[in-house]
């Protein structure tokens, strides 16, 4: 019996120790590189010397001279955010508030763009709508017209592609807000004599406004840190935004690290501020009318308009997924990309290169190894983290949550740069190896994995575990027979999501790859730079295929589980 007493005293302290260790480890992983980056951004002496010989704020002052880069960034981000939120709002309203045909299927389809990466989308849209030889312009010329119908290499093109892929994020966030609104609030307006449109304008819109604003701020923050679209579509026309300027500063010879660091820190500061604003808005009482409870919304009959809304949703999926993938597919089987099939030379050479050529093949294998490795080891650690955050009573468990979620506020590019600079200057020889990439992936994917697992842990009623203890099960027996089986679907989901995110990772990878450690997304970029859109298309499709295979497994796994739990 005394054993029980001893354990009761021993447990909290070991939990505290574990919590402390994890805070230090994760905090180190996240904050240490950023400290290096801040120091470098203040370096006004020799750019390559670390620690810096002289400190100053000149690098930041220089940013003011680059005001056009900041203006470009702000313009693209605002324009893209407006489009994305418009797409998201219309789609969310259509799918949660109207009787649109095939609603359930549409809802699934609307999530697809999320799994296309902006890089793949940007490549595809440059194939589709580049000046001169984009497919659209090729067809335009066939009709005998001169000049170009569309030019994707423009600020509007960049914003268009970014909006297509963030639109689905806005959709998910806004429809969550709409689903959690009590339909009685709308019915009240109808009963008092307001028509459909009046109800939407006077009740629905004001009530979901906080949700829409939240989505706007969140999407804007994402837009600020996004790189791929601006890179693929902006550089040909020399339209530079902060992320691409940062990349160019590192790629220039000699690399201008202090300038890149200053830009990175500035971008981080803006994004951190924006996300803090988002968190503050979410916490405000604005959501008082929107309870945590999910309601079954009553949907309005729209008559013939329903088919217009249906067509709108389909059109979105077509331009965001179907059209890009078709263009890539067609291109990847051709020697020279063309949409005029009579001129087309079909070939498998691009896939042969992708799967056979040493450098490219090793990038594919490395990506798979990293995806599987990071998902397996990472999710195991994340499970422990989630348990500490949500189940333990050890002091400081809320600090753990903050530390774990912190990477979300750091733009990937900036974090990649910080890691590059930190590990160049730390005498542990993992720079240029897959180990560094694995560490980086684990850190930036922490929020994703933890959030997914937390969703499942929070759904498991605590008394399911307690009941096992009361029935006489030891802690280990309880874990084996109750906790783990209940967590399994969540662990599977987290594994697959982390795998997907690793395979498509670009922002961090682009600074950390080396000749001995290549991964797929940066390889697509370099093949694009060597102006082979055909090989890039093949690589992008292989990456997308890996993601979609994982996605199908994920849907299967979660559906089987939800079938068990009505």
């Amino acid at each position: 019996m005394l054993r029980g007493a001893d354990r009761a005293r021993w447990l909290p302290s070991s939990q505290t120790a574990a919590t402390l260790a994890i805070v230090i480890f994760c905090g180190g992983l996240v904050l240490y590189p950023l400290v290096y980056l801040v120091m470098e951004s203040l370096n006004t002496g020799e750019p390559d010397v670390f620690p810096p010989g002289e400190y100053g704020v000149n690098n930041y002052l220089d940013l003011i001279d680059d005001w056009h880069i900041l203006a470009n960034t702000a313009f693209v981000a605002c324009f893209a955010t407006a489009m994305a939120v418009a797409i998201g709002f219309l789609a969310a309203w259509t799918l949660t508030r109207t009787q649109v045909p095939f609603r359930a299927q549409l809802e699934r389809l609307m999530e697809l763009p999320y799994y296309m990466t902006p890089l793949v989308g940007a490549l595809a849209w440059s194939i589709l709508a580049a000046p001169h030889n984009g497919f659209v312009n090729q067809l335009w010329h066939v009709t005998g017209a001169t000049g170009d119908l569309v030019d994707i290499y423009s600020p509007f093109g960049i914003a268009w592609v970014m909006a297509l892929f963030e639109g689905t994020v806005a959709f998910v966030m806004i429809s969550a807000a709409m689903k959690s609104m009590d339909p009685a609030l709308e019915e009240g307006a109808r009963v008092l004599g307001a028509g459909k449109w009046r109800t939407m304008l006077t009740v629905t819109l004001p009530l979901v406004m906080p949700g829409v604003l939240g989505a706007t701020v969140f999407v804007f923050a994402e837009m600020l840190g996004s790189f791929a679209a601006a890179f693929v579509l902006g550089l040909p026309a020399r339209y530079v935004v902060v992320t691409t300027a940062l990349w160019e500063a590192v790629q220039s010879f000699p690399p201008d690290y202090p300038r890149a660091a200053a830009m990175g820190i500035a971008l981080f500061a803006v994004m951190f501020g924006t996300l803090s604003l988002y968190r503050w808005m979410v916490r405000q009482g604005n959501f008082a009318t929107i309870t945590g409870k999910a309601f079954r919304p009553r949907r309005m009959a729209m008559g013939r308009l329903a088919w217009v809304l249906f067509a709108g949703c389909i059109a979105y999926v077509v331009v965001a997924v179907v059209l890009p993938l078709s263009a890539l597919l067609l291109t990847s089987f051709q020697r020279f990309a063309t949409v005029i099939l009579s001129q087309s030379e079909l070939t498998l050479a691009n896939y042969r290169t992708a799967l056979g050529f040493g450098a490219v093949r090793s990038a594919l294998t490395n990506s798979l190894i990293l995806g599987i490795g990071v998902a397996t080891v990472g999710v195991a650690i994340m499970t422990v983290l989630v348990w500490i955050i949500y189940r333990s009573r050890a002091p400081g468990h809320s600090l753990v949550e903050y530390v774990v979620m912190f990477p979300q506020a750091v733009p990937r590019m900036v974090f990649g740069l910080a890691l590059l600079w930190a590990w160049l200057n730390i005498p542990i020889p993992i720079y240029g190896t897959l180990w560094l990439l694995a560490l980086a992936y684990f850190t930036v994917l922490l929020p994703l994995g933890v959030r997914t697992l937390a969703g499942v842990v929070l759904q498991i009623d605590k008394s399911l575990e307690e009941c096992a203890r009361v029935c006489g099960a030891s802690w280990f027996y309880q874990l084996r027979t109750v906790t783990m089986p209940l967590l399994r679907p969540g662990i599977a989901a987290a594994w697959l999501l982390v795998f997907i995110a690793s395979v498509r990772e670009l922002g961090v990878s682009i600074f950390l790859v080396s000749p001995n450690a290549k991964v797929i997304a940066p390889s697509i970029i370099s093949s694009w730079l060597s102006s082979s859109s055909e090989l890039s298309a093949a690589l992008a499709l292989i990456q997308t295929a890996a993601v979609f295979v994982a996605l199908i497994v994920l849907l299967r796994a979660t559906r089987r589980y939800s079938g068990e739990l009505p």
């Binding site: 029980g4 307690e466 009361v470 029935c471």
Partner: protein, 363 residues
């Protein structure tokens, strides 16, 4: 009461710095069915969870069947799985990834019983709750009432020494709740197992318990049989929370010694013949009269004790009873009468009640 099964002495449980249970002492006898009753946040569930070993107290002792399972002084805290108690949870906690049979067999398997015995005991438990036909069904496919029965079968299958219930009926609809109440009482009598039951539903508590423990803000207000609690509430809280009662403010007449009959000056110059269950201390300023114990009659007072004139202010017909609001010298009185006794609003009447139903409350 026969030999003690659970002894709780001066139990204190804190959440951080907030005490949830402040020095609760309680003894439950062998085979006794005791209910902890109180509003949410009164510490009843915390007390129950401390008995189960799911909450670590910070002071006091808990003994189950003669064994100390928690003692602050000895720094002893036996983990939940070693206490031999069983519990039915508010959310049922039926494991969705197992069949009904596996759920019920869990406690038996943990104890490494032979296969045939597990089969026999599970069958017996499922028979008790009339769920034997569902044994192979996945637990995720059960309705709320069925989950409730499975949770009950699982709790009794391994013949625990003590059975704990944490508001087991609160998630059922009213009709099913009334049915399960009857079944629970029946089951509890047949098994003869010692049980502690937590609820905030006073009707449920009165109906199924041998003794009721009324709790409020972390402490015990009164312990007694259901009749005791109803007829002789000790405090304003008990009188108000259990059943419906009129609380009448006033002043205890001097010279009262007790327990026994006492005089009580209510407002409006009337003196009530009241009853003290305790030796009055002198400062008592409230009596309680159950709304159902007040009689009404037409006409004027006849001069007997506790017969007082009044006027019907309002009549609310509720089906099983009629509720009258009566103006009387000491203010307003709520009276419940059977639907056969009709008085018109505005009618002059007398109200009367026996002295032992006019209970002096402790301060």
């Amino acid at each position: 009461m026969s030999e003690a099964r659970i002894e709780i002495d001066n139990l204190v449980v804190r959440y951080g710095d907030v005490p949830a249970v402040k020095g609760v002492s309680l003894v439950v006898g062998q085979g006794e069915h005791v209910t902890l009753l109180g509003p949410s946040g009164c510490g009843k569930t915390t007390t129950l969870r401390a008995i189960a070993g799911l909450e670590e107290p910070s002071g006091g002792t808990i003994r189950i069947a003669g064994t100390t399972v928690y003692s602050a002084a000895e720094r002893r805290n036996v983990p939940a799985e070693k206490r031999g108690v069983s519990m039915v949870f508010q959310s049922y906690a039926v494991w969705p990834h197992m069949s009904v049979f596996d759920n019920v067999a869990y406690g038996l398997r943990v104890r490494h019983l032979p296969r045939e015995e597990i089969q026999r005991e599970v069958d017996r438990a499922l028979d008790l709750v009339q769920m034997r036909n569902f044994a192979t069904r996945s637990a995720a496919l059960l309705s709320g009432g069925q989950q409730q029965r499975v949770a009950l079968a699982r709790a009794v299958a391994f013949s625990p020494t003590v059975l704990l219930f944490d508001e087991p009926l609160s998630n059922l609809d009213a009709k099913l709740r009334a049915e399960m109440r009857v079944e629970l009482r029946d089951l509890q009598r047949r098994l003869g197992v010692t049980s502690v039951y937590v609820t905030h539903d006073q009707e449920e508590a009165l109906a199924i318990s041998d003794r009721v423990v009324v709790m409020n803000v972390g402490g015990i207000e009164q312990i007694g049989t259901p009749e005791d609690i109803y007829n002789r509430p000790k405090t304003r809280f008990v009188a108000d929370f259990v059943g419906s009662a009129n609380l009448i403010a006033g002043k205890l007449r001097d010279g009262a010694s007790g327990p026994g009959p006492v005089g009580f000056d209510a407002g409006g110059g009337i003196t009530l013949h009241a009853w003290a269950a305790h030796a009055p201390r002198g400062g008592e300023d409230h009596v309680a009269i159950r709304t159902a114990y007040i009689e009404m009659a037409a006409g004027a007072p006849n001069g007997r004790a506790n017969v007082i004139a009044g006027t019907v202010r309002q009549r609310l017909f509720s089906g099983d009873f009629i509720q009258y609001i009566v103006d009387w010298p000491a203010g307003r009185l709520t009276v419940r009468r059977p639907p056969t006794e009709m008085f018109d609003e505005g009618a002059a009447i007398t109200v009367s009640f026996a002295p032992e139903h006019c209970v002096l409350l402790e301060n």
